[in-house]
Each structure stands twice: as C-alpha cells, then as structure tokens.
C-alpha cells in the first residue's frame, strides 16, 4: 500500500492520478480541496479485503466521480475505486491523501491515519515546503515507523534547480530521519500535468540502490515482502519504543490510576462528616425496650406499670395545660426540625469540604468539580428535606435491629435480664425514676457504637462512613444499672442505631443526588491500574521488545 502525501497544492492528486493512470482524484487550483483519501485498488481486491479494517477510522465509499474526495463532510471517508487505468500492479494499492499543513486540521488527521496504515509513503516535496515544520513532523513519524519512503520533488525548475535537489534532500533526511528508497524529480509543467502526463526524472545519484528505475515500475516491482516486513517491524518499534510507545502509555495509565487512588484516599479521609444529631426523643428507643420486655414481665409488674401509666398521663396532661410540657407530637416536630437542621448543616459542611478537596486535587476537580459547580444545590437540600420528611419515626428495620440487639443481649447476659426483671417486679415503685433517668441518656453515640449499628447505616463507601456523633453525653447513668457492665453499651447502641438510621437519609442524598455514579467511577478508575490486563500488556510488550532485532 502506497500513499501519496504532502502539503497543500504540492500536486499530490496529480501525481496520484499519473501513477494510477487515470483521474481518481480531482485536481483543482485551490489548495486543500482534497478532503478525503482516495484509494485505487487492483482488480478484484475490493471483494477480498475489508477496507474499513485495513484503514481503521474511515468509512469506505465506492468511487462515483472525481469530486468524491472534495466532499466537505465531517466524517472520515475513504473513496475507493478498482483499477481504473487497468494497468495497476496486482499487489499495489495506491492512495491519494489530503494535505498535512493546511488550515483544516481534519485533513491532517486523515492523512496521518492513512500514513499509519500504509507501507510505502510517496513524499511529495517542493522547493517551498520541503523544510516546513508540519511537513517535517509528518514525515518524521513515517520514518520512525519504518515506512519505506519514496521522495518526489515536484514543480522543479528542470534542469535549473537540479543541482539544488541534493541539498534539499539532505536537509529533509537530516530533519526527518528518513532514508528514502528512491528520489525523483517532477519538472514544473502545468499543462502536461493537467493532461495526466508527469515526467518523473529518477535521481540516480540520490537513490541508494543506484538504479534509475521508472517510478511506476519501482512501485509495482517493489519487494513487497521486504517492505511489509520493514513496515511491520517499524510498527512494532513504535509500539515498544521506550520513549513514546505503548510502554509510556501504560506508564501514564498507571500513573493516572495512581492519582485516582490518591484521589479516592483523599476523598475518604477528608470528607468525613460528623452529624451532630440532636438528642433523640427518649420514648422512641425506650418504647422498643418496653415492647421487648413486655412478654417477659410478670402480671403484678404490668398492673403496677399500668397504674403508673394512667397516673403519668394525668400528670402529663396537667403539665401540658400549664405549658410546662409539650405533647409527644410537638416534641417529635421539634425534634424533626432540629434533626433536619443538623442534617442540612452536615450536608453544607460536606459540600464545603468537597469544594476544598476539589481545589487541591486536580483529578477530583475534573470529575466532581463539574458536578459540584453545575448542579443546582438547592435541589440537594430539597432532596434531603423530602427524604427526611418521608422517614418514619421508627422503621421496621430499626424494630428488628432493636429486637436482635436485645435478644443477643439477653442471650449473652441471662443473669442480668433476670436481674432486671426481678428488679422490675420488686422495684416497680421506683420505676418512674428509672424511666426518666434512662430517657435522659438520649442519643449518646460514639463512633464505635455507630459501627455496632452497622446493620443499619449504609455507609456510603469512599465517602467515608457517615459517622453519627451525639452532642449529648450519657447523663443520669447512675439511675439504674447503667453502670453495670453490658447494659450501658446496649442502650448506647440502641440510641446510636436509631440516630444512624435517621442520618442514613443524608448518606442517601449524598450518594444518589450529589455524587450520582461518580463514586463508582472513581473507584473503577482507581482500580484500573491493578487490573490483570495491564500486567499482561506489559508482559507482552517486554516479549515483543526482546524478539525485535536490535
């Protein structure tokens, strides 16, 4: 496969047409008009090969006219035609390419894709362009990839400039590292070029093998096997090149994964939010304990308890009337308002911290920054409010959690439960004090206790666990048995579990609304470096590098 490459208006299309023997690509005076590569295939080849696979990135389109290549579409087209001149060598595929230095960068990219896919590059150089930076860069890459190169100096003032060509070629070779297999000069003759006749003077003195073979013969009589091997070897060398090959790409890949790991670490370390949950309404937890105790209590105890209950209701009613106490409903409303405020503060705290993290970690800024900036934060707060409002005061999850806890406690401390039950029987009179004393304990929760409530808190992973902290410390612990080993942690964990479950709405909002799937994404990226594919690719690369002759 040979591609004719060069700058704008250097006559690539004319040369390609001359080589094919008919007009496959329209040549026009305006520069950079060839927008898509045109390939001329030998007879019958189109059925045997898949052009889209041979030229990755292109959509093959059969030739319909000379203007096909001028289609200004965005898509990468590859116009193909089977041997129009009917004397194309059987094994030679010839391409005309777009320019490599014009103002349309798409053209460059298409030419580069063709360059990478071809074995032989016919470099069209002119007096004006043989040392342009963009031209040099293009052919440097071809030389580095071991492409066989044939240089044509086009539009030469023949023979006036003939003695200059050696100097031009030397500059070109020094600048690109290319070692052309043959060098030709095409004289400046617009009329005959337009008529499809271009005279290629072989520059024997500049050709390594010293033979002055005609360009078309040279192309058709190429040692295809050797060229293919050279091209293949060149391709391998590009891939295993320690400075710019796949190894560096893998390094960059791993480095990026490392940065993601760091980002994940920063995120989980720095973004812990302490929810300063308000003291939970005491009856919520306590009711669960009473409910659990109920079947275990004696009839006498229950009767006394009922009497207390009735008496207590009366006292409460009186207290409410004089404004000294609030109803349970009001207490819950007060609590819900305080709790929502605490959750909102935690959310604000969290966003603020996230902002700060994004300022220092570029990776997180790239993924989360946009999300943080573009999102409508009021919708986060609205979401939190909605979730909180929908939260039942005591969920079934919590009920079963509390029962399990109490059962486990009873199993582990049968004596203590018996003791408590006896105490309830004997000391029924003293119970109101116990209730009040215990109730005052409130949601005393330490992180450890929250962790024991792990069955309930969906810890938003990577976000750091949503640690539930209580502003209140255990109060009134002397009231009854709270100092007894085992009971205090039990009560603590019951309160902590309740608070943890309540604060789960925050975790849910953070996970569902603030982060979306970004956390999973960060996790995936952080883990990318340690995937087996990477190690395997490294191994293969090493193997390839060993196999290649030095």
């Amino acid at each position: 496969m040979a591609a004719v490459c060069g700058g704008t208006n250097t006559g690539k299309s004319l040369i390609a047409n001359a080589l094919v023997g008919c007009e496959i690509s329209r040549s026009v005076p305006e520069a950079a008009r060839t927008r898509h590569p045109v390939v001329s295939l030998p007879r019958g080849l189109a059925e045997r090969i898949d052009l889209a696979a041979v030229f990755p990135g292109f959509t093959p389109r059969p030739w319909s006219g000379e203007d096909d290549a001028l289609d200004p579409t965005e898509a990468n087209l590859l116009v193909w035609r089977e041997d129009a001149g009917s004397d194309q060598p059987q094994r030679l595929v010839l391409l005309d390419t777009p320019d490599i230095d014009g103002t349309l960068r798409d053209n460059w990219r298409r030419a580069e894709l063709i360059r990478n896919a071809c074995d032989v590059i016919v470099a069209v150089l002119t007096q004006q362009k043989y040392n342009d930076a963009t031209v040099r860069d293009f052919f440097s890459a071809a030389a580095a990839a071991g492409k066989t190169m044939i240089v044509i100096f086009n539009m030469v003032d023949w023979p006036a400039q003939r003695q200059l060509l050696a100097g031009w070629l030397r500059t070109f070779m020094l600048e690109t590292g290319a070692e052309p297999a043959a060098v030709y000069a095409a004289p400046f003759d617009r009329e005959s070029a337009a008529a499809g006749r271009i005279e290629f003077h072989s520059l024997v003195e500049l050709t390594p093998d010293g033979t002055g073979v005609d360009l078309r013969q040279r192309l058709s009589g190429c040692d295809f096997e050797r060229i293919k091997l050279a091209s293949m070897e060149g391709a391998f060398r590009v891939v295993v090149d320690p400075a710019g090959g796949a190894g560096t790409w893998l390094n960059a890949f791993e480095a990026a994964a490392g940065e993601w790991q760091e980002a994940r670490r920063v995120l989980s370390d720095e973004s812990r939010v302490r929810v300063e949950m308000p003291t939970a309404p005491r009856e919520i937890v306590w009711n669960e304990i009473w409910k659990w105790l109920e079947p275990r209590r004696s009839g006498f105890d229950l009767t006394v308890s009922r009497v207390y209950h009735v008496a207590g209701q009366g006292v409460k009613w009186a207290a409410r009337r004089v404004g000294l106490a609030r109803t349970e409903e009001e207490r819950r409303e007060d609590f819900a308002a305080l709790e929502l405020a605490a959750l909102k503060r935690a959310l604000g705290d969290f966003i603020d911290r996230l902002d700060e993290i994004c300022r220092t970690n570029p990776r997180l800024a790239a993924t989360l920054g946009d999300r943080l900036v573009e999102a409508d934060r009021s919708s986060w707060y609205a979401d939190l409010g909605r979730r909180h409002a929908a939260l039942p005061i005591v969920s079934n999850d919590y009920r079963s959690f509390a029962r399990d806890k109490l059962d486990a406690f009873a199993r582990d401390n049968p004596d203590m439960v018996r003791w408590i039950l006896t105490g309830l029987n004997v000391g029924a009179v003293a119970r109101p004090a116990i209730t009040v004393g215990l109730a005052m304990a409130g949601a005393a929760a330490v992180p450890a206790a929250a962790a024991t409530a792990g069955g309930l808190t969906t810890l938003v992973h990577h976000v750091g666990d949503v640690v539930v902290g209580g502003a209140a410390t255990l109060a009134g612990e002397g009231a009854l048995g709270l100092t007894v080993a085992g009971l205090k942690p039990l009560i603590e964990s019951l309160f902590a579990g309740w608070s943890a479950e309540r604060s789960r709405v925050l975790a849910e909002t953070l996970h569902d609304v603030v982060f979306g799937d970004q956390l999973e994404e960060i996790d995936r990226l952080a883990g990318a470096g340690s995937r087996p594919e990477v190690a395997r690719a490294r191994h293969l690369l090493m193997h390839c590098a060993r196999e290649l002759p030095q």
């Binding site: 305006e30 950079a32 007096q127």
Partner: protein
C-alpha cells in the same frame, strides 16, 4: 529633512479630529472599566488583555503621524525577500531557493535620509539597510523571518536525536519583530495560502494592524485570489483587494530600471495611496479602533461564558434572600401573634401611663401593678420577648451569637443552606474567594454578621412595635373615650355611694331605720371590681382591635428592611459587582461599535481583521 522624515509628532500638528477625541474618551472609559473589574478570573483576563492593548493604543496616539512600519510576512519560499528587494529596487536581502529558510535575520529597509533612531532595531534583532527606491521613501519595510520552519514544541519534548531545525528560532524572532510593525504585508503562494502555521501567526498579530495581501509567483501559479479571499474571510478578515504579482520579475525589472509590471505597479500605487503621508494617520487611527474593537471582542470571549452564570447567581442571591426573609418574617410574625400576654402588658402600660387621676385609672394602675408582679416571674424569651416587655437589648456588630438568631426563628442551618447554594452558584460563575466567603461563617464573621442582623432586626422590630403601639395610643388619648370609661366606672361607685348615703342619711337618720351592715359594702366592692374588669376588658378589646392584621402587615414589610442582607452580604456584593462589570462592558461594546461604524472608511484598500 522633510517633516515626514523626522518621523516625529511635528509631522502633522493639526489638532486631533473631533472623532478621534471621542475615541480618546472611549479609550479612557475602557481603561477605567478594565481596571475596575472585580477580582474575578474573567475580569482578570480582561485586565491582562488590556495590559497588552493599552501600550499599543498609547503609542498610536503619540506617534500618530510617524511613518508606517510595514512587516512583510508569509511562509518560507513564498518570495518575501524577493518582494522586499523589488520594492527596495536592489538586493537588500538574500532571496534564494538554495536552502529553506533563507531569511534568518529581520532586514529593515529604510530610505537613505530617514532618521530611524525611534525604531527598536535591537529589540527586533534586525539589520538596517538603506535604499533610495521611491517605494520605500516614506515607509519602513521589514523583511520578516518565516513562521513555518520552527518546530512547534521544544527539542526537550521530542524523542528523536538532535536535528538542524532544533536551532531554528524564526517564529520566536517573528514574534519580536511584528510588535514594531504598523501594517502587515502578507505574502502567499498557491502552495502556502492555506498554511495553518502562517494563518495562526497572522491571526495573533493582525488585530489592530491593517493588512495588504499579495499573491506572488504569478508567472507560475494559477490565480488563487478568489479562494484565498474566501479563506481569509472565514478567518475573520475584511479583504478589499489582493494583489497578484511576480516578485522575481519585479525585482529583475526594478534592478534593471524597467517599468514595473502591472501587478507590481498596483502594489506600489496602493502603498503610495494607503500608507504614505496623511494616510499614515488614517491607517494608525483605523488600526487603533480595530484594536479597541478586537479588545472588546476578546473581553466578550472571556466574559460571555460567565454571563448566564452571573445572571443565575444574581437571581439566586435574590431567591435566597427572599427565602431567608420568608423564614424570618414567618417566625417573627408567629412570635408576635402568639405573645398575647406580652401585648396585653405593653398596651396596659400605655393606657396606664396615659390615664391618671380618675377612679378607673386608679383601678387600672392597681391591676397593672399586681399583674406586673406576676409577669416578672416569667420573663419573655428572646429578642421579641424582651422588646415586648420593654427591655430593648443592645446588640453590637461583632458580638452576635447564633443562639439569639435562632430564638428569632432563623436557624443557622437555614443560613448555611442559603450560603452553600450561593457558593455553588458563585462557583459556576467562577466567583470564589476572596470575593465571596465560604458556606459556613467562621466565628468572627458569624459574630459580625449576626450582630449586625440582630442590631438591625432589633431596631426594625422596636420601631415596628412602637408604630403598632402608637397607633393604639391615639385611640386612648382622646378625652371622650377616657371620660366615657371613667364615667361608666365612676357611675357604679356613685350608685353604691349614693345608695349607702341614702340609707344612712335618709333611712337611718331621717327615718330611724338601723344602719345596714357592712355586707352591702362588701358586695358592692366585689361588683365594682368585676365591673372594673369588664370595662378593662372592653377597653383592651378596643385597643387590640386590628392588632392581628397589623402584625401581618408588619411582617410583610420585613423584606424592605433588608434585615438578612448581612448574612449573604459577600454574595450580594459579588453578584452586583460582576453584573455591573458585565453591563458596563456591554455599554462600552455598543460605544465601540458605533464609533467603528462612524469612522469606517469603505474606500480603504487595506485589509482588516474584523472584531
């Protein structure tokens, strides 16, 4: 030396045309605007942009009539040097096809008798060559290095071994030469007119520099001027004309002293008409206005992406302010409405303070004395309670606590929510610290803002309550009401006393019936007290009338008092600043556009970069 040759300001001493005075004003405004920008990244970029543009505008103004410096630029091999030689009439610079690039040192062609000490030759790293050619008699011609042979990235970034082009600094050199040029003469060939690198460099230096476009190699290449014009126009240039000539032929004819070929002659005429003498003034002026328009365009590029975000931010500030005011107003209204006893006491005090001397007044005094004893046992909570009980607390900015605000009904979490939302909106508009603070106020800030909030709220509430009270004070001030109540109350006493007197004087002394026991008087006393309470109740019903409605109206007036402003003051200020800056920029853009239109010279043959 002719006046032109001196190259100085004396060249054209006529006062600046009035249109140019307008332009000076505009430049002043732009300078003020660019410098007044808030500490905001887009505004900073505008300021940096202005820092580039301002010295050029300044120089243009100072050197309005000095002869023009024409930079000849184009890709390598397009015949820049050949053209310069043709214009200079002899070989002043090497033009050849032996090696690319040819020109590696800028050649400055100056007429023999011109003082060019004002040219920054050293900064340009150039070499001065003198010429007698009439074409360069009144301009300075600079043969610039090409932009397209220097590699894009430095050697260090490339993998291959060192190459000759690694030392090529032509494009860097071009960047030092072009700032000294007033006009660009862009040379292209059929091969190079679509060169990406050349286009990039021209784009970078074209703003404010009128251009001449020349296609060379006319004898060999087809005429590509129509396509080049399309290409240039797509890059944003106005292209009145493109010259087409063969520089080699022109140079040969010039050195042989022959008549120039028509294409070259056109270029010579254009230089004479468009660039020489008084035209220089016009060119500089056009360049300066184009540069200004370009600056405005660049500012727009920096600011436009933030415009929507700023608008949303400003709207967000309004929305959050309303939200906080809503919360505060609802809480204050609720507290005022429910605090019945405090109102009762306050209004009682008003009446008691005003009414003296009568029996009913005395009754009210006694009841209030007893009542105040009871209420003192339960002091009202929070700012409102204290205000209603007549003890206005003194808040000083810097010493506020959240607790006091939360007692008012505005939770810290609510404020933080607003600030967090605003921080998000500000971030979208690229507004960040130090323009705005963080979502959570630190202790000092909190003390300050909360203190201000409490102090303002205290004053506003005190005056509001005072208004409510004074409205009602008017109702009890009238003598008619007072004497009615006194009369009603006194009448019962008079009846009781009359009855007692009748019994005593008529029944006992006159008719000799025994004196009634004290039972009647005790009974009467109870009735008088009950009557007193009834009247008191009626009086306060009358005084309280409409209180509920008035409190609602008071709460509705809360937004006008701007009470919550201190809480989001930084955001509000930043939003105003950004919006003001954008609007000022818009106004200036309109001014620049109208000035550009009014000064446009359709006859000019020079190309320009459109803003």
């Amino acid at each position: 030396m002719s006046e032109m040759q001196s190259g100085g300001e004396a060249g054209d001493s006529s006062p600046a045309a009035p249109d140019f005075a307008d332009f000076d004003d505009l430049v002043e405004s732009l300078a003020r605007w660019a410098d007044s920008g808030p500490d905001w990244p887009p505004a900073r970029r505008v300021r940096a942009e202005w820092a580039q543009v301002a010295p050029r505008l300044d120089r243009t103004r100072r050197e309005l009539s000095r002869m023009l410096v024409v930079g000849v630029i184009g890709g390598t091999g397009t015949g820049k040097s050949t053209l310069v030689n043709a214009l200079a009439g002899c070989e002043v610079t090497t033009a050849s096809d032996v090696a690319r690039p040819t020109t590696t040192t800028p050649i400055v062609v100056v007429a023999t008798d011109v003082d060019c000490s004002w040219l920054p030759i050293d900064a340009m790293q150039g070499r001065v060559v003198r010429s007698d050619s009439p074409a360069v008699a009144n301009i300075v011609l600079v043969d610039c290095p090409d932009p397209d042979t220097q590699a894009d990235e430095p050697q260090a970034a490339r993998a291959h071994p060192p190459r000759p082009s690694d030392t090529n600094r032509n494009r860097d050199m071009l960047a030092t030469v072009l700032p000294a040029c007033d006009v660009l003469l862009l040379v292209a060939t059929a091969q190079k007119y679509r060169s990406w690198i050349v286009a990039r460099e021209v784009q970078a230096f074209a703003p404010g520099r009128p251009l001449l476009f020349v296609q060379t190699h006319a004898s060999r290449d087809p005429d590509i001027r129509a396509d080049w014009r399309r290409e240039l126009e797509s890059q944003g240039f106005a292209v009145p004309r493109i010259f087409r000539l063969d520089a080699l032929e022109a140079a040969q004819r010039a050195s042989a002293g022959l008549v120039p070929e028509p294409g070259f002659q056109e270029l010579l005429t254009a230089i004479d008409v468009e660039l020489v003498g008084r035209a220089a003034r016009r060119v500089r002026r056009t360049g300066a206005i184009d540069l200004t328009a370009w600056f405005v365009g660049q500012s727009r590029v920096h600011l436009e992406p933030c415009r929507d975000a700023v608008t949303q931010f400003a709207a967000g500030v309004g929305a959050e302010r309303r939200r906080l005011e809503g919360i505060l107003a609802a809480a204050i209204e609720g507290k005022l409405q429910t605090n019945r006893t405090a109102w009762q006491r306050l209004l009682t005090d008003e009446v008691v303070d005003r009414w003296h001397g009568g029996p009913f007044a005395m009754f009210l005094h006694v009841v209030s004395a007893i009542g105040s004893f009871w209420t003192r046992l339960r002091p009202g909570g929070g700012l409102i309670g204290q205000l209603l009980s007549g003890h206005a607390p003194e808040y000083v900015a810097g010493h506020g606590s959240w607790q006091a605000v939360e007692e008012l009904g505005l939770a810290e979490a609510d404020v933080e929510q607003s600030r967090s939302i605003l921080a998000g909106l500000a971030g979208r508009a690229k507004i960040s610290a130090p323009l705005v603070g963080r979502a959570r106020l630190d202790d000092t800030q909190a003390g300050e803002t909360v203190g201000t909030l409490l102090e303002r709220t205290g004053r506003w509430l005190a005056s509001g309550i005072e208004r409510l009270v004074s409205d009602r004070r008017g109702r009890v001030d009238g003598p008619l009401l007072r004497w009615t109540f006194e009369g009603l109350f006194t009448s019962l006493i008079v009846i009781v006393l009359g009855r007692a007197g009748w019994n005593y004087f008529y029944g006992h002394l006159w008719q000799g019936r025994p004196v009634d026991g004290s039972g009647f008087l005790q009974e009467s006393f109870v009735w008088i007290i009950l009557w007193g309470f009834l009247l008191r109740w009626l009086l306060f019903m009358w005084v309280r009338l409409g209180l509920h409605r008035d409190i609602t109206a008071l709460a509705a007036r809360l937004p006008a008092a701007r009470l919550v402003d201190p809480l989001i003051h930084d955001f509000a200020t930043a939003a105003d600043a950004a919006q003001g800056y954008l609007q000022a920029g818009d106004r200036l853009a309109v001014d620049v556009r109208s000035l550009t239109v009014s000064l446009d010279d359709p006859a000019s043959g020079l190309g320009r970069m459109r803003a």
